[in-house]
Structure formats: structure tokens, C-alpha cells
């Protein structure tokens, strides 16, 4: 049993080598799930502690999806603690007309939008504005670069649901993008 200090030290080192390279991945997902940097940092730290805690029983999957799955659980537990609506409760039906304005530019004038934002910032903000399950799916796909089956595993849904979430996420992003573009200059 892990009676000796060297074994424990060695284990921590192995964990560090295996898990720390994914810190940016984990942090980015945390930023998009939690919304702000302070909460994201707390979630990432808790994620790494839990991962270390369970490292002995870790047999796979690959390290990155394993860490991201732990992070997601940490974030969802925090949502539950705060009494927020469970993210998975969000309806996956087509958005109604009343919901659509959620993704529109509120009141910024075209000039300020044009001056203030480069494409990257705009995309970041539009992704951040997506409803939870869609945001999670698109970040896992486009930022964390996971496969559909890895995303399905983390989200706890079938691969078909991942496909439809990604399709919805991209459709929403596209409409939102068109709104932003349309407010800065004439579109096409």
C-alpha cells in the first residue's frame, strides 16, 4: 500500500506530468461554463484536486476528456448549490421568436461595435451567450477539440444529441453573428 513517501511523491509527479498540460483546456471550458474568471479558477482547482484524488483508479479515457468530465461535474455541482436552473433542463427545441432577441446586440451603436470589437472578441462573446448545453458542446468541440463520442461521454447524452446540439449551437451562432454583422454594415 502507499506507505512510503517516495511512492506518494512519485504519484503526484506522474499526475502533474499527465494532467497539467491540459490546464488551458480545462480553464477555457471553466470560463465558458462558469462565466467569470474567479469562479472558473475555483472550479479548475477543485477539478485538479478531485482528479488527483481519483488518479489511482484512473484507467482512461484519455486524460483530457477525463479532466473535462470532472470539471463539468464540479461546475454543475456548483450550479446546483447555487440553486440555478439545471443547465440540462434547457429546452432543446427550436428557439421561439421571444427567445431570439437573447442573442441580439442590445443597444450598442454600430460605430462602437465596429470600433470595439474584433472578430475574435465577437465570437467569444457570442459563444458565451449561448444557452448552457449548446455552449458546452461547441466549446468541447471547437476549443477542446474532442470527438463526438468524447463529448457524448462528458455530457452524458447519446452521440445523436451531441450532433443536434452542435447543429443548433452553430445555427444560433450564425444568426447571432448575422445580427452583429448586420448592425455594423449592410450584410450582403
Amino acid at each position: 500500500m502507499p506507505g512510503d513517501a517516495n511512492g506518494e511523491h512519485d504519484r503526484a509527479r506522474r499526475f502533474r506530468d499527465a494532467a497539467l498540460p491540459y490546464l488551458d483546456d480545462v480553464f477555457t471550458l471553466a470560463r465558458y461554463l462558469m462565466g467569470n474568471a474567479a469562479d472558473a479558477e475555483d472550479a479548475v482547482q477543485e477539478c485538479y484536486l478531485r482528479a488527483l484524488h481519483h488518479f489511482d483508479s484512473y484507467r482512461g479515457p484519455a486524460m483530457k476528456p477525463w479532466l473535462l468530465a470532472i470539471l463539468k461535474n464540479v461546475c454543475y455541482a456548483e450550479f446546483a448549490r447555487r440553486g440555478k436552473q439545471a443547465p440540462a433542463d434547457y429546452s432543446e427545441k427550436e428557439p421561439t421568436a421571444e427567445e431570439l432577441p437573447l442573442w441580439q446586440e442590445p443597444q450598442a451603436s454600430p460605430e462602437t461595435v465596429l470600433l470595439r470589437e474584433r472578430d475574435g472578441d465577437t465570437i467569444r462573446r457570442l459563444v458565451a451567450d449561448l444557452p448552457q448545453p449548446f455552449r458546452e458542446a461547441i466549446v468541447l468541440r471547437e476549443v477542446n477539440d474532442l470527438s463526438y463520442s468524447e463529448i457524448a461521454e462528458i455530457a452524458g447524452v447519446p452521440v445523436g444529441t451531441v450532433m443536434s446540439r452542435l447543429a443548433r449551437a452553430r445555427s444560433m451562432l450564425r444568426s447571432a453573428w448575422n445580427v452583429v454583422e448586420g448592425s455594423t454594415h449592410e450584410l450582403r
Binding site: P2, R16, L23, V26, L52, S57, E142, R170, R174
Partner: protein, 264 residues
């Protein structure tokens, strides 16, 4: 293939998730359908824009140091980092783990008679973690037998106490075996029972949490936890069985430990 199918599958095509056959089907449809072709072009452009935007964020350096600092330094002889007594505890939990346990406790309307001290709460969390860990493949038992006379001697020399190993099969709780585990940095014995499809870990140690008279039951992360002390030992039973069944387990165990014929 119709447009509704294509609209979903073209994303899988973009993401390289389609097998050759389906990829060909989508491409055939897109070639004949200007609306879907326009979507495919638009979504491909969006993917490229997202890739160029480089959405991945670099974790701040202080976060990396915080995590590094939280790693156990030698010497440590625990499975779980013995982290709970350190002053930076709040930072470890960041309001997550403890808070979750507490709100779960409230939701399940528990039998919490007093506000427990931090150490008790810590151990309760640790006990649940050890239970969850034990459920993962290959971790449940070090000695696997339904014979209490095999389990009990197995603990000899591994612990500073001799945990009572009682076969409760006749009472509806099958003895499966035993395991050496670590809670809060200390070795503890775990005796594993089964109730229908549910497993019960009974952790036994000389000192594990605050000694108190009656048993206390609470719910942490969806698991029911029952703690009691007798014969100079602390007992923690953890399982996903209902609280009343766990209570029954505790009573049956206590009854078997103190046979009515013997002096009590």
C-alpha cells in the same frame, strides 16, 4: 437524404465524424440542394473563423501555482491528499464540495441534531469519497469472502484495531469481504456488505470523527452516511440504500455485536 437529415449531418461532415458512406450521401445531397450547399459553406466559414479566433484561453500563472502548491509534498502516506487540516482549505473547496454536501443534506431533510465541527464534516466527506473510490473496478475488496473468520484475521497486522467482522447474511446484508482504506490520512478497515444490488462500506477505526452517543445519519452527494461509536471504535456506514435501510443495517450490526445473551 432530405434536408432535415442533411442539416444535422453536414456538421458531422465538417467535423470529420462521418464514415465514408454517409459522407458521400451528404455530399450528394448538398450537390443537388442549393440551400444545404449554402449552409455547408457558411458553417465551414464559421469553423474557420472560430479556429482563427483562437478561443482557447491561457490559464493564469497564479492558478497554475495554486494547483502546484496543492499537490501533496513528501512525506505523505495517504491515498487521498491529507489536505483538509491545512489553513488554505477554503481555497481547495472554493465553496464547492462542502457546499454541495450541505445543500444535499438540507434537501434530504436530515437528522442533524447539532452543528458538527469541521473535522467531522471533513471525515464525512472523506468517507463518501472512499466509498465512491471503492466502487470503481478492482478497488472494492482486498480480501473477498463471505466467511467472517477469513476477513477478520486478514486485518491483523494491518490496523491497530481489530474491527468486528460480522456476517449479517441472515439479516439481509451479505458479507462480501474486507479492504484496507485510508481516511484523513489514517488506515481504516472497511468491511463490505451487499444489500440486493447495493453495496455498503462499513469503515472502522479507533478514532474517526467525534465520539458521540447515538448514531447520526446524513446524506452527502446522494449517499447516505451513518456514523456511530461503540466499544471504543468509530463506525461509518456508507451506501446508496435508503436511510431507513441503512439504519436497519446499523441496528442489526449493533445487535449482532451485542448478542442479547451476553452481558451488555
Amino acid at each position: 437524404m432530405n434536408c432535415a437529415e442533411s442539416e444535422i449531418l453536414l456538421h458531422a461532415l465538417i467535423d470529420g465524424e462521418l464514415d465514408a458512406g454517409h459522407a458521400r450521401d451528404v455530399e450528394t445531397h448538398v450537390a443537388a440542394c442549393p440551400a444545404c450547399a449554402e449552409k455547408l459553406t457558411a458553417f465551414r466559414a464559421m469553423r474557420e473563423a472560430m479556429a482563427e479566433a483562437d478561443l482557447k484561453e491561457a490559464a493564469p500563472a497564479h492558478l497554475r501555482s495554486r494547483i502546484e502548491a496543492a499537490m501533496p509534498a513528501p512525506p505523505a502516506r495517504v491515498i487521498a491528499p491529507s489536505r483538509f487540516s491545512r489553513p488554505s482549505r477554503r481555497a481547495f473547496f472554493g465553496g464547492f464540495a462542502v457546499g454541495t454536501a450541505l445543500s444535499a443534506a438540507v434537501a434530504a431533510s436530515l437528522v442533524l441534531t447539532v452543528v458538527r465541527n469541521d473535522q467531522e464534516r471533513t471525515i464525512a466527506n472523506e468517507v463518501v469519497s472512499a466509498h465512491i473510490r471503492s466502487l470503481q473496478a478492482g478497488h472494492l475488496m482486498d480480501v473477498e469472502t463471505s466467511d467472517q473468520h477469513t476477513v477478520k484475521p486478514w486485518f491483523n497486522g494491518k490496523l491497530d484495531v481489530a474491527p468486528p467482522v460480522i456476517d449479517l447474511t441472515a439479516q439481509g446484508f451479505t458479507l462480501l469481504g474486507g479492504r484496507l482504506d485510508y481516511i484523513d490520512g489514517e488506515p481504516v478497515g472497511s468491511i463490505v456488505y451487499q444489500r440486493r444490488k447495493h453495496l455498503i462500506n462499513l469503515f472502522v477505526a479507533r478514532r474517526l470523527g467525534a465520539k458521540h452517543a447515538g448514531a447520526r445519519t446524513e446524506t452527502i452527494q446522494g449517499y447516505n452516511v451513518r456514523h456511530w461509536s461503540e466499544e471504543g471504535l468509530d463506525f461509518w456506514a456508507v451506501s446508496d440504500i435508503a436511510t431507513d435501510e441503512l439504519e436497519e443495517f446499523g441496528q442489526k450490526f449493533a445487535a449482532a455485536l451485542h448478542p442479547p445473551s451476553g452481558p451488555s
